[in-house]
Amino acid sequence: MIDIRTAEELLKKALSMAPEYGFDEYEISYSSGTSMEISVFEGEIQSYERSDEQGLVFKGKKNGQMASSATNELDEDAIRYLLQSASESCNVLDDEDEDFIYCDPDNPRLIYSQITDAFSKNTYSSFAKLGLELEKDIFALDPSIKAVDYLSISCDRGLEMKMNSKGLYAYKDSDFVSLFAEARAEKDGQVKTGGHYWYGNDIDKFDKEAFLKVFKHKVTDKFGGSSVPSGKYRIILGNEAVISFFSTFMGNFSSYAMQKGISLLQGREGEMIASECFSLKETPMLDKALIKVPFDSEGVMTTEKYLIENGKFIKALYNLKTANKEGIKSTGNGMKGGIGITNTEIIPGDLDLNGLAEEIGSGLYITELNGLHAGVNTISGDFSLFCEGYKIEDGKITGPVEQITVSDNYYSVLKKISKVGNDIISEYMGSGEFFAPSIIIDDISVAGDK
């Protein structure tokens, strides 16, 4: 791995060579990552992975067209390859929408370091000790647990440095620790699986007791389930399912999708698109977020904003290119060559999970949605998904259900949300975290055994 000074020299070299290839504006970034992961199986450290990676990405504008190229080789030949291939790409592009290389005159140097002592503390031996103990603890949870098929703990560190012809220097780094376990339980000839995860940047903050409590519930409470008759149900969509569901449709808030006519939210800013109890907000610097995002990939400062406030669609997400097309400012959502969202939150309500169940009286509590990569039409919003969950009878969560699907439409669901809970959890989604509680959705189609 090259050191940061050498990387800086390499970037400067690329910037000095770019005009030779006909570029008018250009930007180059260096990124590097280090990772370590252990997996435990049957009382042994069954696998250990360790990696070092680095790479360069070039973006350049020539004849009004912007193209990019990437390599993980780091020498002058690699730079020539980057410039040459981006230049060739510019020659075939005929994008009507102008793209930009940018530097905020008020913030030409953007530096944000979030590196912790994770890597010095999270050594192979500390992970191995925790992993082996955790496997034993999982087996001790319940006699029905027959195997821990997957248990891994990993630590990742990444940094990115960027320079451009407009004078931008941007640097950010962060690290991330995650743990995932999945177990198999067997009872009366039935086999069930369940898993749970944890992430953070300090393994000492891993609360094993809390983790095991949820884990036990997710693995051992699924036995004896039956299907339910097909029909319309009031459901609680559990917090994990809320995150997977709403993140699947986030692309519809992209101004790019709207401008290209592939989001049904196009031209609907200011309109009530959801129930009044529902608000969705992006807070890039959210206090409780593990990784804060002060600026986006284009060097634009990020902003706090409601996407939906009390049911009303407030604002779409813009990068430099889509904002320019509409004559407005970027919202700081230019991420990795497209549009992305950082730390996002569904604003919680008052009721906890039991309160939501009481509110429903009878219905279903859906804890997991499967097949989200296939069973949804992200444009029309239609979905039909295999799910897991429990019955709600007399205001209490009771026995499990199995072999059912829920089907409806995303845009209809937004308007059918009748209560938002307060049992917030979070999940890391790539460019930020998604925080969400469980919610009640009225009148949703369930396919079961009739």
Binding site: I45, R50, Y81, N370, I379, S445, A447
Partner: protein, 464 residues
């Protein structure tokens, strides 16, 4: 690139402690792509990556380290770290390196990587223009082309020394039909390891029209009904049912730790007697093919199921150690950043005897799924789900109105036993499969088949 002397120094470092086996995977990849939206070229890109993965084994314990720092001294240091981290095992010997052998499953006259981007653009624009003028309801057309070349060399402590080159290309056309607030898509996405002649011979005009027709029919379709019913699955990408419902559960990743629903089932009836299935990585020029797998073993044409009886699992080296059997040449990975695991290649249900028309004619009521979307499976419970992209009601032996928004769910073991008709129209289709060793190109396939009962998740009781 690393020379043989340095490769052996890395090997010595890897085997310096208690590893009984080590392999070194050296890879170089390059890609070229263009993307059009509504006839305008909005994306063009290129990439080039290389890296090295070093795997050490002691019994069934594995250490995997990788880096794109191709400097020999850095890699030796990494290999030593790996050796220190490996637990258990007895120190193995390093055998002398065999002479390097080269293979390629490609069937290429015109190298896709050598074709100018402007030619790719012309091809995609032809389809795009045709689609946009096909019907006023076709409002968007996205088209893309990607070519990639992957060269890798595998050297192991047993003297194995293999090199393979794989050049693949794939393009996709996605048409969107709009009716009020409703948008539905039609999609084609063929892929191959043949040369650019594949594109030159491809009936792009007809396929584009079919793609538009799908989107137009679906945007006018009502919702699918819910409940258990007979389902006729069309040929080609319909094979995703077998890939999900059975294939993944036959991989040694699951079978080797006894977590698969098909563990200890060799020689037993796991499917209806009219079902035979293969995983054949050796079809020259096919999208999911390879001749040498990512741990250097020769790939195979593997009989998985014969007349309903389970004949073979897909086994990689680690799986072979766990299951006490030989690898079947199915170890694959997305790239050097993943350790290899058992994966599928070109996996299909073999052709049967029925005329597809008769299968429909003999079905009183059910759904005909002519185009499948993707899906997923829990290999332990066998529970799967997959989406229907284009479906029709069958009533009284006739294909009737189109229906949308259906998902098929069930348990693999039950579905396989419930296949009651197998057509004679076998076809393969390209796809990408994601699993613990990353995304790899695979082909799925089948003739038209009928499953006597699957749970369909739809919502018939609403207005379209």
């Amino acid at each position: 690139m690393l020379n043989d002397a340095n490769i052996m120094r890395i090997m010595e470092a890897a085997m310096s402690r208690n590893a009984d086996f080590a392999d070194i995977f050296i890879e170089k990849r390059s890609t070229s792509s263009v993307g059009l939206l509504n006839g305008k070229v909005i994306k063009a890109g290129a990439g080039c990556d290389s890296g090295v993965g070093i795997r050490l084994m002691a019994g069934t314990n594995v250490v995997y380290v990788y880096s794109n720092d191709n400097d020999a001294e850095s890699l030796i240091k990494l290999a030593k770290e790996a050796a220190d981290a490996l637990k258990g095992g007895d120190k193995g010997m390093i055998k002398e390196l065999q002479e390097k052998s080269f293979s390629t499953p490609c069937d290429i006259k015109i190298d896709p990587m050598s074709v100018k981007k402007s030619d790719n653009v012309d091809f995609l624009r032809r389809s795009s223009d045709l689609a946009l003028s096909y019907d006023p309801m076709i409002t968007q057309v996205a088209a893309s082309y990607t070519a990639s070349k992957r060269m890798f060399r595998v050297v192991n402590s047993e003297g194995l020394n293999k090199e393979e080159e794989q050049t693949r290309m794939r393009f996709s056309i996605e048409t969107i039909a709009t009716k009020g607030n409703e948008k539905q898509t039609g999609r084609i996405a063929p892929g191959s390891m043949r040369g650019y002649e594949f594109i030159n011979e491809y009936p792009i005009d007809d396929k584009t029209r079919e793609c538009c027709d799908t989107a137009l029919r679906m945007v006018n379709a009502g919702y699918a009904p819910s409940g258990k019913m007979p389902v006729v699955l069309g040929n080609g990408f319909g094979g995703v049912i077998f890939h999900e419902a059975c294939g993944h559960s036959l991989e040694s990743t699951a079978v080797g730790i006894k977590s698969s629903c098909f563990t200890d089932m060799l020689g037993k009836q796991i499917a209806s007697p009219i079902v035979s299935a293969y995983d054949n990585a050796r079809i020259k020029g096919e999208w999911g093919s390879y001749y040498t797998d990512d741990e250097g073993n020769e790939s195979s044409d593997l009989l998985l199921i014969e007349n309903g009886i389970l004949k073979n699992y897909l086994v990689d080296k680690l799986g072979g150690r766990r299951m006490n059997c030989n690898p079947t040449g199915c170890a694959r990975r997305q790239d050097y950043t993943y350790a290899p695991t058992s994966r599928m290649s070109n996996t299909y249900i073999a052709k049967g005897n029925d005329d597809p028309k008769d299968i429909i004619a003999d079905t009183e009521y059910g759904i005909y799924c002519s185009q499948m979307g993707g899906g997923s499976v829990d290999t332990t419970t066998g529970e799967f789900n997959f989406a229907v992209n284009e479906g029709y009601m069958i009533r009284n032996g006739k294909i009737e109105e189109p229906v949308r928004g259906a998902t098929l769910i069930g348990k693999g073991a039950e579905i396989l036993m419930n296949i009651d008709r197998v057509g004679n129209d076998l076809e393969l289709a390209a796809g990408m499969c994601g699993s613990i060793s990353g995304g790899v190109p695979v082909t799925v396939g089948q003739p038209t088949i009928r499953v006597s009962s699957i749970l369909v998740g739809g919502r018939e009781d609403e207005e379209a």
